[in-house]
């Protein structure tokens, strides 16, 4: 029953969706401004890969271990804050990034310890609360986090190199995109594919098989002598690490963030990405993210009348989409029917 064989067509679907969204957005933006906007399109691509990476963390937690984390944004914010603040203090960037990742993992484990053994949905309540409280900490501890004003002016990786290395600048000029922006795209995409490769390899490993067994039938896994608790915590930690990585990239890309950058909504976006792509199919996050941001951008470019789709209307549409998908196709685009709706 547990599917381990992946159909060959999945990558085709992923790239067709990505290409479709890209072309549609490109055409719409040309229609609006009269010319191709490479910088804008690169920005959309960065956002798509950023959210795909972020959602991949959730995909590990939920797709592999069945954990319902509704505070995933916490790992992203810990990654961003730790990386930026430590870099501002003069620490080396790899060290800052490492601390961010370790911090997010520890935070995730701290929440998992009292809840993972209990009902599945306790984790949802606890994580959503913890992420919100973390945000009030960022808001209130101004000495450390600069409070609501946010953090900016922190060192970013390869910043000098991107604009100083002649050939790269030439390439960037050729496509009319700021050199650093283009570099961020390459870095985010490369990181995403690397993380995806690692996650899919782990998923096929004995470790992943045990996790899926736990997800399907926890008692059986326990009776086979597997330490269910430890396995779940490991998945929680791995997901948080990936989330922290996406947080660091977010900080480097936008060069500014504040507590308001990390509302609960960001977590919900990741869930929508997961549901759209198909839970348990890790490469589906790219489909989900492309569709989500494709819809957002299309709605904005089309200037849908009466509903301001940049504000509350946008979120309303996303919520409705989530409910609709859960009712009509809960297994997502890549998923199979029996995966999500089966009786517990």
């Amino acid at each position: 029953m547990t599917p381990t064989r992946r159909p060959r067509g999945e990558w085709t679907v992923v790239f067709l969706v990505l290409l479709g969204v890209f072309v549609a957005i490109g055409l719409l933006s040309v229609r609006g401004t009269g010319s191709v906007q490479p910088s804008y399109l690169v920005g959309v691509l960065i956002t798509i890969f950023l959210y795909a990476l972020f959602s991949l963390g959730l995909s590990v937690q939920f797709g592999e271990a069945g954990l319902i984390n509704f505070g995933h944004v916490a790992s992203m914010s810990v990654g961003a804050y730790a990386t930026a603040l430590l870099a501002l203090e003069g620490y080396a960037l790899p060290l800052a990034l490492g601390v961010g990742i370790v911090g997010a993992v520890l935070f995730g484990l701290l929440l998992g310890l009292p809840t993972v053994r209990l009902r599945e949905d306790y984790l949802a309540i606890v994580t959503i609360g913890a992420a919100e409280i973390l945000r009030t900490v960022y808001l209130n501890e101004e000495d450390v986090t600069n409070g609501p004003a946010g953090v900016t002016g922190f060192p970013r990786p390869f910043l000098a190199a991107a604009s100083g290395f002649g050939p790269w600048v030439a390439v960037a000029d050729r496509v009319a995109v700021a050199p650093y922006k283009l570099l961020v795209l390459v870095l985010v995409a490369a990181t995403f594919f690397a993380a995806l490769a690692v996650v899919e390899a782990l998923s096929r490993s004995p470790w992943g098989r045990v996790l899926r067994a736990i997800r399907e039938e926890e008692d059986v896994a326990t009776s086979l002598g597997k330490n269910v608790f430890a396995y779940k915590l490991q998945a929680l930690g791995l997901g948080a690490a990936i989330g922290a990585l996406s947080g660091a990239f977010l900080a480097w890309y936008v060069a500014y963030f504040s507590p308001d950058t990390f509302p609960p909504l960001v977590t919900f976006y990741a869930w929508i990405v997961l549901v759209l792509g198909g839970a348990g199919h890790h490469r589906g996050v790219l489909i989900g993210s492309a569709l989500l941001w494709g819809i957002f951008e299309a709605a904005r470019l089309l200037e849908v009348p009466y509903v301001d789709l940049t504000g509350p209307g946008q979120v309303l549409a996303v919520g409705a989409l989530l409910v609709l998908f859960m009712m009509l196709r809960p297994h997502g685009i890549l998923g199979r029917k029996e995966e999500m709706v089966h009786a517990k």
Binding site: F62, I125, G129, T136, V137, P312, G313, A320
Partner: protein
């Protein structure tokens, strides 16, 4: 002096606690019966509070009275029709007539805000029942997992909250009631809104106790919260009782929303910001237990307000509810009054 300060904060705590209790009862019953941790519950509260704002402030004049009377007539007639076509039992028809009578009386004699509250409570109850028919019942039928239920409820929460924001904007609003001086009693000061909130919460708790302990429907609700399968075997029409539970939850949460709107201000995040403390109250009291929810609500409310004793703690009010929640999960995850060890 310090003691008076503590007592004053305790009063505030009881007010917040009463509101949490009202919101918590519905959340707890739904949680216990449907196994649904309804993340949209807080946004039902927001919706109710804003509907009251619309009916009492924006649509001033005779409209609410006529609408209330019209709705009363409609419900009365539909009760009659449903009995004639044997769609509902006589007992239910009696209940519907009761609702229409209350609407009529309040519509004619009540002040604008009372009128609006009753009307809004009915509307939110209908909305909650409609959602059961459209979403939760089909999901029950196909035995959806806990996870899918939670995700759908998050989707509903997003839709409701942002619909409210779309319609009424994100500025602070209030019910535009005349200002009254605070009453002093036993050296403590009570604002008018606080007195109303306390009395309403107490009255609602007493009525609820009667409903759940004395009436057949109430007993059926508690039976369901205990064990749905057992209740079904005993011949209880579970789908129907679940609808009543949603209606009850809708009414109580609207009441909580109005009271919160009276004590503070209206904002699209009104209910959402109270959701975590409400969940904490429900889990503390024991999922599925109405009495537990009241107990838990009062505890959490007191703890949150007493945090104002320390300037530094005040900014972490939410964190206190959260801390209690974690503590309960570690020590007694089934809650104070929860029966089954989970």
């Amino acid at each position: 002096m310090a003691l008076a300060e503590v007592a004053q904060l305790a009063v505030n705590g009881l007010v917040v606690g009463g509101i949490l209790a009202l919101a918590g009862v519905g959340l707890s019953l739904v949680y216990g019966i449907l196994n649904l941790s309804n993340f949209a519950h807080g946004d039902f509260m927001t919706l109710g509070a804003y509907l009251v704002f619309f009916l009492s402030v924006e649509a001033t004049g005779a409209l609410p009275a006529e609408v209330a009377a019209g709705l009363a007539a409609a419900i009365g007639f539909s009760a009659l029709a449903l009995v004639m076509f044997r769609k509902v039992s006589r007992r239910e028809a009696l209940g519907l007539s009761g609702v229409s009578a209350v609407l009529l009386v309040v519509g004619v004699f009540g002040g604008p805000i009372v009128r609006a509250t009753v009307l809004a409570a009915v509307l939110v109850a209908i909305f909650a029942m409609a959602l059961d028919l459209a979403l939760w019942r089909p999901l029950r039928r196909r035995r959806a997992t806990l996870v899918s239920l939670v995700i759908v409820s998050i989707g509903v929460a997003l839709v409701v909250r942002h619909a409210v924001q779309l319609v009424w904007g994100s500025d602070f609003r209030n019910y535009d009631l005349p200002l009254r001086p605070a009453e002093r009693f036993l050296g403590l000061s009570f604002t008018y809104a606080q007195i109303v909130a306390l009395l309403t919460a107490i009255a609602a708790a007493i009525l609820l106790e009667i409903l759940l302990r004395r009436t057949r429907t109430g007993k059926a609700m508690r039976a369901l919260a205990d064990d749905v399968e057992l209740a079904r075997v005993c011949g209880i029409d579970t789908d129907r009782v679940i609808l009543y539970v949603w209606a009850l939850a809708g009414v109580l949460v609207t009441l909580a929303g109005v009271l919160l709107g009276l004590v503070t201000n209206l904002h699209p995040n009104l209910g959402w910001s109270l959701l975590l403390p409400t969940f904490a109250a429900v889990i503390l009291g024991g999922i599925g237990s109405a009495r537990g929810a009241v107990l838990g609500g009062l505890t959490i409310g007191l703890a949150m307000e007493l945090s104002a004793l320390s300037e530094r703690l005040l900014s972490y009010k939410q964190a206190i509810a959260f801390g209690i929640l974690i503590l309960v999960l570690l020590v007694r995850p089934q809650g104070i009054l929860g029966g089954k060890g989970r």
